[in-house]
Symmetry: C2
Subunit: 550 residues, 2 copies
């Protein structure tokens, strides 16, 4: 028989026990005093650890990230940080101070400029840019955390956690850490005698600290209807008729953005006039957008599963348990991993927007000097080839010529032909191609690949890209809705008419929409106050959305 290796099989467990023992003087049960947190982290974390820091585009473990940025870098250094979102200043301070030197992340909106610079300056080694699901998956494979720094609303004396509406990614991060002998450290807004419900059992949690203030929570998915333009309304009308109605889209994902907020606010008005209630848009994988309230109240929506919560929606959700996923306490249970999974595999349609699209339909939000990352869009914005179940919309995409015929997910890109600053959205070559070389990435950071885009909606019309049978024809279809951008102006009227006759392009008149009908009065709510009214006063928007601005 081959020789067996002689080794300890409990190195992770032993290391954990030793660290907790070292921190014993700081611990009262599982609790560390608020003021002791930095010292506790210096004891519980070791150099070269893989540390997963909770924080996505909504909830942030802000107390723990600040504490981590204050540890002594002679004691704690060369950490490998794993974080869904690089979004707070101290997320990068820890690299400048030498506390960490490597990062794997998913999204870096607010800090994307500074990240680019730090990589160039050699202060940060870049691992990979991921979608959420990839990053979560790697926590169980090759990025297994030594320590997790997470955020919860409440803990009880034993260390059971209540994460409530913003459960988000907490259970996934905790599971990967707790069940691999890692150390789970939770900041909580408050310690209570009895939790409204248990989201994370105490046996998964090692250390709890009451934060000096509640965790940071962004109201990122609140869109004030007053800022929706009539061009957006026109695009929304076309999308409703030319995509949602045409293909009988029953389940879908909407993200952030005024374009999709416009669609949500047209359901009870324009959608109602088309007689579509009960036929389309019944099942959602989406955050609880306030702009969904009128559609919910009008009986359009059967169910919404949420990635995260949304500030101000708590009271409304509690009174609408037929629509939302709530616990026995009545508050929302979100789950980012499960909602991404559902958004990838179980919905008919993803709709998104972009800053740049090349002539092949590929798009990216990464532009020169900005490493923004992806979040969840590429996960939901592609055709999942592992899907085997069918729905009417999915089947509608199929190419009947193929013996092994299958459907396709609807992936819609919706944007105006010109972006801010008079820059055409269409470009011969994505900035991402150059950025990948400059930043030393293995591949260009493409958000959505052209081959996955089934529909392109601009203020000009809709290109049914799934009907094109070559890359050349796809480019022509894009040009046909590209307006007066360079690619659009290259095309002749005859080419456009040819595509239109083949059903590859549709203009407003083909959808029985008059441009002059696209009025703000069509929106079911004109402003945040209208949303409050729709909600019977249950929606309580954060202060910054309440004020009128001229």
């Amino acid at each position: 028989m081959v020789q067996k290796s002689k080794r300890s099989w409990t190195t992770r467990r032993d290391a954990k026990r030793e660290r907790i023992k070292q921190a014993e003087a700081l611990l009262d049960g599982k609790y560390v005093k608020t003021n002791d947190i930095t010292y506790a982290l210096e004891t519980l974390i070791h150099p070269n650890d893989k540390v997963v820091l909770e924080g996505n585009n909504q909830k942030q473990a802000s107390f723990l990230s600040e504490a981590l940025s204050e540890v002594n870098s002679n004691i704690i250094h060369d950490l490998h940080m794993i974080m869904s979102s690089v979004s707070r200043p101290e997320h990068l301070d820890i690299f400048e101070k030498g506390i960490a030197n490597r990062v794997d992340f998913s999204f870096a909106g607010p800090q994307s400029l500074r990240i680019s610079q730090m990589i160039e300056d050699g202060q940060m080694q870049m691992g990979n840019i991921h979608t959420y699901l990839e990053l979560y998956g790697r926590l169980f494979i090759d990025l297994i955390p030594s320590v997790a720094l997470i955020a919860a609303d409440q803990a009880d004396a034993e260390g059971n956690l209540y994460t409530g509406a913003n459960t988000e990614e907490t259970p996934t991060i905790v599971e990967a850490t707790a069940f691999r002998e890692g150390i789970v450290i939770a900041q909580v807004n408050e310690k209570v005698d009895e939790l409204p419900r248990v989201d994370i059992p105490s046996s998964w949690v090692d250390v709890v600290v009451v934060a000096d203030q509640p965790y940071q929570l962004e109201a990122l998915f609140t869109r004030n209807p007053r800022h929706i333009t009539e061009i957006q309304i026109l695009m929304a009308m076309m999308t409703l008729r030319g995509v949602y109605e045409k293909h009988q889209v029953q389940s879908l994902n909407h993200g952030i953005g005024f374009n999709t907020a416009a669609i949500e606010l047209l359901l009870p008005t324009y959608g109602e006039s088309l007689g579509l209630r009960g036929q389309i848009c019944k099942h959602w994988a989406a955050n609880p957008h306030p702009t969904l309230i009128p559609a919910i109240e009008s009986g359009w929506i059967d169910s919404i599963h949420c990635f995260g919560g949304e500030r101000g929606m708590e009271g409304y959700i509690a009174e609408r348990p037929d629509v939302f996923f709530v616990g026995k306490d009545g508050s929302l249970r979100s789950n980012r991993a499960l909602c991404q999974m559902a958004g990838q595999y179980a919905v008919d349609l993803f709709i998104g927007s972009t800053l740049q699209m090349d002539y092949g339909g590929n798009s990216s939000t990464v532009t020169h000097g900005r490493l923004a990352g992806f979040g969840g869009a590429p996960n939901m914005g592609h055709d999942p080839k592992g899907r085997r179940h069918s729905t009417p919309a999915w089947l509608d995409m199929m190419n009947p010529d193929d013996a092994l015929v299958r459907g396709k997910k609807l992936v819609v890109q919706m944007m105006e032909t010109y972006q801010q600053g008079n820059t055409p959205v269409f470009t011969e070559r994505l900035d991402a191609v150059d950025v990948s070389k400059e930043a030393g990435l293995d591949i260009p950071p493409v958000m959505i690949y052209g081959e996955d885009v089934t529909h392109l909606v601009t203020e000009e019309g809709i290109a049914y890209l799934y009907k094109t049978d070559s890359i050349a024809e796809r480019k022509e279809a894009i040009a046909a809705v590209a307006g007066v951008t360079p690619i659009g102006m290259e095309q002749t009227l005859k080419q456009k008419e040819h595509l239109r006759s083949k059903g590859i392009v549709a203009y407003p008149q083909d959808l029985e929409i008059r441009r002059s009908d696209a009025k703000r009065s069509l929106l079911a709510a004109q402003n945040v106050e209208d949303l409050m009214t729709w909600s019977d006063g249950l929606y309580e928007p954060p202060e910054q959305f309440r004020s009128y601005w001229p």
Copy 2:
């Protein structure tokens, strides 16, 4: 303002309360007496409910499924069953008795013949065949359960659950039900004063019943090394050299099967002789196969995340916490949804086998008269287009001609050219195409699509399908390793040599493997007893694997 609908928003909550109230006389806290379960189900379930019944290829809620098959169909009828696996006789009895009339499922190995017949006879309406992740995703979108029937090892007085090694799909099913005002009914093997750990918090559980016997648990992933043939060893050697070593595969999924068991048992012998330890096969998404023990003991494997448990491996896993995901009690924590997610997005390679492959490389396990379903294979056995992070193996698949270059997941199909009964595995047309018409399916039930297969390994050699640049060339490459099957015999030696010179095909000699070296003595274990020895007596195989057969 548009008119709001007048309705109750708590219909699900009210229905649940009413049902629990009706069952009050049967409940002592959350507990129902073992003998009262059928009557309890008749009270807690209503006609037309969506009922998710736990059961996959390992753990089965067998007590509850039997109880369900005994309810009075005048009281409970027309249920819509959602089940990962249709595998026990009573799973179909409930349709014959009219208790249920519709099914959405994922896998139906043992009952695949009977399902086909029942659909034909109109006793069962077929929803869809899914992969696990799709089915789980739909639980949060458009297949939201009214009732979940699940299985756990232990419960405490409050109804907290311990699911231990076979946690599997329980948390996912429970989350979808508990947080949408559904009723969660758990069968447990025993009620205890204190749980080893909490896997499911009691506030997610409504009703608990102690089963009359432990839940059914199959040792499905135990492969006795004594049944591994020398042809399988030859294929395993080629795969190790020509795929795993060549592309530096660091993370991977292995499923059931003797082919992959052979690879596992060659790592400490042949793999060691190639100097590959520490370089390849370090991170796994896999069940705890006993045939992995020698590789673990020889220091090959850093981590294994598991879909489920495996009978007999409990004691071994408890002593190897550096490798497995375990709780504070020392026992395995599996999670089918998270492991499928990781297996889809976070590993370099999937390897599988099939009963039929067409000349385009498409394969299916569905053959005439058998609706077998898929399980997890299509989810892991495709190139996930939402992946954005890179690894050396993934990058090795890329086509450098493309400006928007990207890598690809390695999807390997490994099988002998002839199956049992002297049937060639290669066929011009998959049975699945006809089956889809006969059973009224929307699309043919293909397991793995040819466009996703990167490597095909037979006893003849390896076809590097990812290098082919047309469907015609892919077919040629398949033919080049198809031996004396019809498609193989059509090919000339000259064609083979041409593909070989292009690196599209490799034969054993190209990999420095002599067919005569493929001996059973190369296996690190010859039989189950050897595995027990490797494990220092920690592995305790179920009785049926211990006996010698001539």
